[in-house]
Structure formats: C-alpha cells, structure tokens
C-alpha cells in the first residue's frame, strides 16, 4: 500500500500539470474536450493523492521505520489514533495532506459546477490544478517527500512530541488546512473572472458559500489551537502572539474583511478592485501561513524544520501569484469600475469600508510584528522578537473599534444615515453601554481596556437583541404568527443576515472572555502535604486547596517518570473533589512537561499548576521527606466564554451556510402575480 502510495504521488504531478495545461487551453480555444480532460484530471488527482495519503497512514500503522517521516514522528507504542493523525503531524505529511484537501475541494467545485457557471470552469480548473502542481513540486523536489527512505531501518521510531499527543492538537491543524484550502476555490473563481472577462458579481455569488465555509474552518481551527495551548502548554494562557498563531490569524483577518466587502459589491456594485485585491491577498496569506508553519523560518513553539529550498520555492510561488494577480487586475481595470459612490460617511457602506480598513490594519500590524525579527536579523544581524506587549498595544484598540462596528454595521442605514436615524438606533444601546462602563467604574475597575470591552460588548449585544426582538415582533404582527414561529421564520427566510448577527454576538462573547483576563488572580505558594492554599475570586468567593501529597511512578507508558500532586479543592466550604497537576518526563524528548488541573465553571476556571518540585530526585524515589512543592494557582474569569463563543459562532455560521431547501416554483403563484408587496416584505 505504501509503495503504491509512493507511485501514486509520482503519477499525480504529470496528471496535475496535464490537466492545468488542457483546462487553460480548452478555455482559451473554446474546446470542450480539452476542458473535460482537464476536469477529469482533477478527479484523478484526488484519487491519486488519496492513495498517497493512505500509503503514508499505512506506513505509520505498520511501523515502517525505514521511512524517514515515520521514523521521526512515530514509534511502536504510539496510539493507533495518533499514528493515523501522523499524516499531518509533521511538515512532510501535512504538505501531502494539504494537497489532498485541495484536490478534494477542487473535485467538489468541479463536480457541483459541471452543468452551471461553465464560462468560469476551464480557468477555475486550470488555476486549482496549477496550485496543486505547485504543492506536488514541493513534495517531490524540495526534500520533503514523505516517502523518502533511510539507508537503514531503525528498530524503533523517535516518537511523536508528547505535547502534540492531545485531542485538540489532532483536530487543530486539519481544521485550519480545511480553511486554507477551501479559500482556494474563491481565489480560483476570481482569477477565472479576470481571465474570462466576466467581471460582474457572479463569481462572488457562486463562491459566497465557499468563502463562508473557509472562514468557518479558519475560525474553529484558531479556537481549537487556543484550546490546545490552554490545556497543554501549562501556563494558563491561550494565545501568545506566536508567529505560527499569527500566521493562522492573518488569513482570518483578510477573509473576514472579504466576507464583508463582497456584500458591498453585491448590493451596490462598488469595491470591485478592492475585492479582487482581498481575495488574492487572502489566498496569499493562506500560503504564507502554510509556509511559516512548515518551513521553520521563524522561531516559534511550533517550529519544525530548517530547509532553505522549500523557503525559496514558497517565496517564489507567492511572488508569482502576486505578480499574476496584479497584472490581471490592471489588465481588467476598465471592467472593474465602481457603479456607485459612497454617498455619506454615515452609512452602512462606509461602516463596511471602515471595518475593512481596520481588519487590514490589524493584519498589517500582526504581519509586521511577526516578520520584524527577520527584518532586524537581515539588517543588523541580531534577531529581535517583539512580544505580546507590542501586539496587545496595537491590536486591542483596533479590536475594540472592530467590536463597535459589529453593532453599528447591522443597524446604520444604507446610503446615508440621518441624525434622526442615528438617534433612533443608537440611543438605547449607547445608554446601556455607558451604563455598563459606569457600573464597572463604580465597582472600582480601572483597567480601561476591560471596561471598554464590556461597555462596547453590551452596546453590540443590545443592538443585536433588539434586532431579533423587533424583527420577531413585526413579523408576528404582519403575518399573524406566534412569537416562536415568527422567530423561526424570521431567521429561516434570511439566514445570511440572522446567522451573521449570531456570529457578531459570538465575537462579542469571545472578546468579553479576552477582557476577563484583566481580572485574573494568581497565588504562588510552596506547600507541604496537609497545607492549604487560599485564593479569592473576583466574584467574591474563595477557593481553598489542600495539598494531599505527591505520588510518583516510573516507566509507565511513554514516560520516564511522572510526579502527580493531588489537591482537594473546596469552594467556601463546599467540597469540589480532588484535582491533580503533574510534572512528567517523556522518553521521546528531553524535556520536563507540566500537566495542569482545571476546574471549569461558566464564570471562571480554577487553573492549578505544579510549578516546582525543589527536590525532584527525592520526590521521584518516593522519599517521604521530599514532598515539598510549589504551586501556582490561577483564577481565570470568563475563560470558558471563548469556547461557548466558539459554539455560538459555529451555530451562526451554520445558519448562514445552510442551503435553502429545494426550490419550488409554483406556476399558479407566478400567474396570480404574487402576493402584495407589504406582505412579501414582511421582515425576514
């Protein structure tokens, strides 16, 4: 199977190049047979890459350590689950996995459009296959072939980094890759629009769902990564502005901008060049993110490999895509003229535009901070990293403006908002926001970022709640429905709008969770068995943790030793049970890892870290006199709102994505001329 997979990978490259050439040529010459052959190449490519991926998985499952990739990312006693996930555990496999996902999405795009949007499809097929060809060239010629053999067969592999042996870490990369590769489809349609000259908003309408789906995967991929960092890295944080985290954030920021600006093009025929620019930029960011993650160019907790060839190939490809994009846009510039102009600064159009500028500003700041160490190294020979303070100082104010826009955008009038309109829509939410701010100040909160986040969050949530309430009420009145059915029909009849509002609410919830970190509490204390540690929550109550003792084991599973500290936790006298936190030394890597204990509630997490074991040797040999340890106990308010916000975001996006039921066109309805405008215009 592995051997067959290797052959499949070699056949895949000529198939992709063949298909690309024929699809482009077929589009240019209007030859349907060439295009069909190109489209079949997409299906064939998917099949071949599936075989290749199964080949890698088979090598993992059957412990074929003669393969460099398997020897470096697996060993005999690795769980089967992680052996399968070995496909994307390291650079080599994940590049193949990337190519497989891209081929899979390409097949879906070609199949679903086999009877419609045909004017786009030759160039879409060609572009998708060109990108696949690029990844195949990398896989086969940049010293990253997952099927590369060692000259000898080791008795066992080096094993998978234990920190990656975590559920969230297993689903985090594939989810991000789904987001990255799904965005390739809108990009291919945009290029096709430029190549074929069909520059109206059709390409946007056709790819709207793809864009939203990509955004959905990107958002969840980022959240899964945060969850992993929170559970596994053992310092209580979920985001460290690490270069690879930033790399996944960049396409998210530009894709969010794109998702909003296409609505302006659809509704007002504006921002056509801008949208082309954004779709090209976002695609470049997805490639850039893959490149950063998988080239080890910048030091990061994720860095894996140092391979110069792959860097040059990736940079060359990005330069090529950028050049092609710019040339095509310049060539088609006359056809991309705006049909309208922004009439007023106070309008929904300008709110959208402002949202775009802010998102791009954030993307630029993140990019600059990420690349800064490289730039300084190039200029001065010294690598200077910018830390979280830089990113927070720049991005928190940007984030707050963005948050406010999440409330302003949905209710400000199109074209031109009058003063009356602003008063009518913003008086109540503004007052609620101001009230929240005053409340926090009275309570003695002086962290302005937290106060601003909660105030603006309250402002946005009031707006969204009122939208839902007014819409439901109006629909119930006009259609004579009960409030429940009215709400369901309201959302059902314009899923995109109401799904979007739910996503906005989710973003507010997630931002509030971030702001909750302003109220973090930390206690660091050294304790002997029987000692208690007390920590007060900002919500008024206190936790008492009794250190019961430490127990150690040696050579269990994949560890050299494990030292597990037990804490009995109670809250205001009410026992919550025992929690453990531990230090462990894995066989695979020379590093002591920390496992934390987390007591999670809706409003706060109690996060327990075994920070230090002063007499480690004594503790490991179970010396009763060596039980003295240091704990770091954290209270992290609202942290679980990030995950709840993620769920809400998922619900909102799924509502927006959900396909409408099959269309029923009743002849009688058309003949009768439809219902009255007032009736059909019922909210929804």
């Amino acid at each position: 199977m592995t051997y067959l997979g290797e052959i499949a990978l070699w056949i895949a490259l000529p198939v992709a190049i063949w298909g690309m050439v024929l699809a482009y040529a077929g589009g240019r010459k209007g030859r349907g047979d060439l295009v069909l052959s190109g489209e079949r190449s997409v299906y064939a490519l998917t099949f071949l890459l599936l075989l290749a991926s199964l080949g890698v998985i088979d090598a993992f499952l059957s412990d074929r350590f003669e393969y460099w990739y398997v020897a470096n990312y697996s060993n005999r006693n690795l769980d089967t689950f992680f052996k399968v996930a070995g496909l994307w555990a390291g650079q080599r496999g994940s590049l193949l996995f990337w190519a497989l996902l891209l081929a899979f999405f390409s097949s879906i795009a070609v199949w679903t459009n086999r009877k419609k949007n045909r004017e786009f499809m030759p160039y879409v097929t060609g572009t998708l296959l060109a990108i696949s060809s690029f990844f195949l060239i990398v896989l086969l010629f940049a010293e990253v072939n997952p099927f590369e053999r060692l000259e000898f067969t080791p008795a066992d592999g080096r094993g998978l980094n234990p920190q990656l042996q975590n559920y969230w870490m297993t689903i985090h990369p594939p989810t991000l890759y789904l987001g990255f590769t799904a965005f390739t489809v809108p990009f291919a349609f945009a290029l096709s629009a430029l190549l074929s000259g069909r520059l109206d908003s059709r390409w946007i309408v056709v790819t709207r769902r793809w864009t939203l789906m990509s955004w959905f995967f990107l958002s969840n991929g980022i959240l899964f990564g945060m969850r992993w960092a929170y559970e596994e890295l053992g310092w209580g944080g979920y985001w460290f502005w690490d270069p690879v985290e930033n790399a996944s954030l960049l396409p998210w920021l530009t894709a969010t901008a794109f998702l909003h600006s296409i609505q302006i093009q659809e509704n007002r025929g504006m921002l056509k060049v801008w949208n082309m620019g954004l779709v090209i930029l976002t695609f470049l960011m997805t490639i850039f993110a893959t490149f950063l993650t998988r080239s080890g160019l910048i030091e990061s907790v994720h860095s894996f490999a140092q391979n110069k060839t792959i860097s040059f190939i990736f940079l060359g490809f990005m330069g090529f895509v950028l050049a092609v994009g710019v040339i095509l846009v310049l060539w088609r510039l006359p056809g991309l003229k705006s049909e309208n102009q922004i009439e007023s600064f106070l309008s929904r159009e300008s709110a959208f535009l402002f949202n775009n500028l802010i998102l791009l500003g954030a993307a630029f700041a993140v990019m600059w901070g990420t690349l800064f160490p490289l730039i300084t190294e190039g200029l001065t020979g010294e690598k200077i990293s910018v830390g979280p303070p830089f990113f927070n100082r720049v991005n928190v104010p940007i984030g707050l403006v963005l948050l406010a826009l999440a409330g302003i955008g949905p209710v400000i009038a199109w074209r031109k908002a009058s003063k009356r309109n602003l008063r009518k829509n913003f008086a109540l939410p503004g007052s609620v926001g101001a009230g929240v701010a005053v409340g926090f100040l009275i309570l003695g909160v002086r962290d302005w970022m937290a106060v601003a986040t909660f105030a603006i969050g309250a402002f946005v949530l009031t707006i969204i709640a009122r939208e839902f309430w007014k819409g439901t009420k109006a629909r119930a009145r006009i259609q004579g429905e009960g409030l429940g059915p009215a709400l369901i029909n309201l959302v059902g009849r314009n899923r995109r709008r109401w799904g979007g509002y739910i996503v906005h609410a989710a973003i507010v919830v997630i931002f509030m969770a971030f702001a909750g970190s302003a109220f973090n509490q930390t206690v660091r204390q050294t304790a002997n068995p029987g000692d208690t540690i007390r920590i007060a929550s900002p919500f008024g109550h206190a936790y008492t943790l009794r250190y019961e003792g430490i127990s150690t084991t040696q050579r269990v599973g994949n560890t050299v030793w494990q030292a597990v500290a037990l804490l009995s936790v109670s809250r205001e006298g009410e026992a919550l049970g025992g929690y453990t936190t531990e230090k462990r030394q894995y066989q695979a890597i020379d590093m002591v890892a920390t496992e934390v204990g987390i007591h999670s509630t809706f409003f706060e997490d109690l996060y327990m870290i075994l920070a230090d074991v002063p007499d480690l040797g004594g503790a490991i040999s179970n010396d009763p006199g060596s039980q003295r340890v240091t704990f770091e106990i954290l209270i992290k308010p609202l942290v679980s709102w990030i995950w709840y916000g993620g769920l809400l975001l998922t619900v909102g996006t799924l509502i927006a994505l959900w396909p409408p039921p099959p269309r029923r066109m009743s002849g009688a309805e058309v003949a009768s001329g439809g219902r009255r405008l007032e009736k059909t215009a019922a909210p929804g």
Binding site: R114, V205, A474, P660, A681
Partner: protein, 170 residues
C-alpha cells in the same frame, strides 16, 4: 526483489487507468459544456441587479416596519431605491419571470425567491399598464389615478420619457 513485481504491476495498472480516464474525452471526442448557461451574461447580471434592487426595497420596508427608519428617512430612501429598481425593471432583454438560473446560490429561502420573482413580474406589468407608482414602486389597483401609498399622481403619459431617462442612468 521479486516481491516488488506485483507492486510494480499494480503501479503500472494504476498509471494506465489514470491515463485512460483523462485521455478518454480526447479520444472519443466527449466535450464538457462551455456555453454560458444563462445564455447572456449581461442578462444574468441584469437579473441579479433586479433582485438586489428589489431586495433593498424590502430591506427598507423591513427597517421601517421594525422602526429602524422613521417616516421621513423611509420615504426618502424608498424614493431613491424605487427609482433605481424601476430603471432596472424597465431595461429591455429580460424575461417576464426570470429563469432562476443559479438560484441555488442565492441566500433567500425559496418562498422568498419565488415571491421576489413574482414581485418583479407584477411591478413590470404595472409599469406597462401605468399602475406602478414611479415615486415609490407601489403597484396600485387598475384604474387608480393616485398612488395608494404615497399619493403621487400616476401619470401614464410620461411613462416613455421617464423610463428612457432612467434607463440611461441605470
């Protein structure tokens, strides 16, 4: 090494199957359709813009119904939107009831689309008969002399010239 022969054979077969699959259309002359399915991109775009224009009118209705727009703002916005929508509806080259190609990609529920299309048909027939108000796009009962919504006179005589002027604009 002899153990690799079957694998080599399997690889060869795989390559042959792939080549056959992708060359088949060229040998047999099979073709993928290339024609634009909505036969005229310009027409499809016009259809799209009609839908968007009507959708914007509905949004205005909705904003008024839920109190987001007050009477004055609503009238002004509706006037502007109606003018744009009527200009688009009067452009030639559209079927009475749009073909609905690509409806799968629109976000509205089917009821929404059907009624939107019916709405477009109704307003267009109103334009021909002179019952569609040019100020607010309201369709009045046959024989009306004034618009039942905004009170503007329904002047049939100026239909041609207003229409012509607005076609340019749209």
């Amino acid at each position: 090494m002899s153990g690799e022969l079957p694998l080599l054979l399997a690889g060869g077969l795989l390559a042959a199957a792939v080549v056959l699959f992708i060359l088949h259309p060229l040998v047999k002359g099979l073709e993928a359709p290339l024609e634009v399915d909505d036969d005229d991109p310009g027409k499809a775009e016009l259809e799209h813009r009609r839908r968007v224009a009507l959708g914007a009118l509905r949004d205005a209705e909705y904003d008024f119904a839920t109190g987001k727009l007050d009477e004055t703002d609503y009238r002004r916005l509706r006037g502007e939107l109606a003018r744009d929508a009527l200009a688009l509806l009067e452009e030639e080259g559209a079927a009475e009831v749009p073909s609905g190609d690509g409806v799968g990609e629109t976000e509205e529920a089917p009821g929404e689309i059907d009624s939107l299309e019916a709405e477009i048909a109704r307003i267009r027939s109103g334009l021909r008969e002179g019952t569609t108000c040019r100020a607010c796009a309201h369709v009045n009962p046959a024989g009306s002399r004034f618009c039942g919504r905004c009170g503007a006179p329904l002047a049939r005589a100026d239909r041609a010239e207003v229409g012509a002027g607005e076609v340019e604009e749209g």
